[in-house]
């Protein structure tokens, strides 16, 4: 790119946001392809932002924080980190299939069934499909994503007698070390902790569900974000949930 095409003279005003629309558009177009001007623009914008510290110090009303937190409680976060990038229908289908398969592997293991180890992939897929749909047998129950985590999905897999179960999820990002995902089993409006788990860098996770009763006695399940170690009752936002059984 030749020098006469650079926009260096416009960059200070661009950093201050004081260019007219046509000039700003010209600068933005140029910055896309010129690293020299882009670096200069970055430097001027860094300087311009320092001017914010020259504003006379003022203190907002004491109740402003309460108003903020009220808005937070009622707002529906739209685009959050819990949202995963859009995927094609095939990409979306594969994790679901993978989840069900993974969940069933867990349950099979929990039930001390090791037949799956002897199955080749084709046989496994065939067996998985049968188990998912087997009436009265082991069930993989899909969970619904909440508005807080629109890209998430998951399954609760329950053994035929309800005494063993597992949860597997996809699309939930790894949390800060001070936090964990916590699964809640709901019965007569009472929530009982059933599992604490984390997810890996691929946003997958899963663990065994531990419950004081048969899982068949719970009507619904939910997963929330809680402080590491778990909470006695849900305190964080819910990311997944759904109905279980009609005890």
């Amino acid at each position: 790119m030749s020098d006469d095409m650079h926009v260096l003279d416009l960059l200070p005003a661009y950093a201050l946001g004081s260019l007219d629309a046509d000039e700003a558009s010209r600068v933005e177009k140029h910055l896309l392809s010129c690293w020299i001007c882009r670096n200069e623009s970055n430097a001027f914008q860094a300087v311009a932002e320092q001017l914010s510290f020259t504003a006379p110090v003022a203190v907002p009303s004491l109740d402003l924080k309460d108003r903020l937190m009220q808005r937070v409680q009622t707002a529906r976060p739209e685009q959050h980190i819990l949202q995963t990038p859009p995927r094609s229908w095939l990409e979306r289908l594969l994790p679901v299939w993978g989840l069900a398969s993974f969940g069933l592997i867990l349950v099979l293991g929990l039930l001390n069934l090791s037949l799956w180890q002897r199955l080749n992939q084709l046989e496994f897929i065939h067996r998985t499909a049968a188990l998912v749909t087997a009436p009265g047998g082991m069930r993989a129950i899909p969970l619904n994503a909440t508005d807080q985590a629109p890209g998430a999905m998951g399954f609760v897999v329950v053994g035929a007698d309800g005494r063993s179960g597992a949860v597997v999820v996809d699309g939930l990002p790894p949390l800060d070390e001070s936090l964990e995902y916590q699964l809640w089993l709901i019965r007569d409006g009472q929530r009982t902790s059933g599992a604490l788990f984390s997810t890996d860098e691929k946003n997958y996770g899963g663990t065994r569900i531990r419950a004081p009763r048969s899982l068949l006695e719970y009507s619904a399940v939910g997963i929330t974000i809680e402080p590491a170690g778990g909470s006695p009752q849900p305190t964080g936002v819910q990311v997944l949930g759904g109905p279980l059984f009609n005890p």
Binding site: S18, F53, T54, L64, K65, I81, Q83, L179
Partner: protein, 209 residues
Amino acid sequence: MKSDYTRYDDERLIGLIAQLQADALAQLYDRYNRLVFSLALAIVNDRATAEEVTLDVFMRVWQKAGSYRADQAKVTTWLTHIARHHAIDVLRRRAARLDQYAVNWDDASSNGQSSQLDPQELAELSSRRTRVHAALAQLPPDQRQALVLAYFGGYTQSQIAGILKQPLGTIKTRLRLGLQKLRDFLRDEWEIDDKSVEAQSAYNISKEE
């Protein structure tokens, strides 16, 4: 178990906010509500409007924390960038602009400091403000005036030329020279070029919203 959010740095708080931890947002608000409110008030010159802008800025943080990149922008840069642009948007929607500005760089002592500020915060903000004021003091008054109108007034160069009844070319020169000199003064002070990517990143983040 309750986390002690006061021990987390700014970037960690943003990460927790992205995980929908409202207490982390509350902590970020405690740290920077005065910075955001002061900037908004300096631009819109009305307390009620400045408070609305402040609420909107922190709500945007709540909703967009996932788009923040700690390796590219300081949290304070991100906050002030959002605050300034939102306040100027509000200002531009007004039928009439205010003639008086809360900012007067000709008299740095007029920028009163509230006794309600936390001592450490007061010290940090005061130090930063003092250094920027010292740099501004080295500019000719006409360049400072043009910068005030551009940064806090949200005026374009053409509008500033009309307000000051000066040729457009003169205003362009004042803004260019003013910011260039500030950059030179602050470069020595803060090695600001090392951080130069911050503002552009904040700008890019804002444009994605």
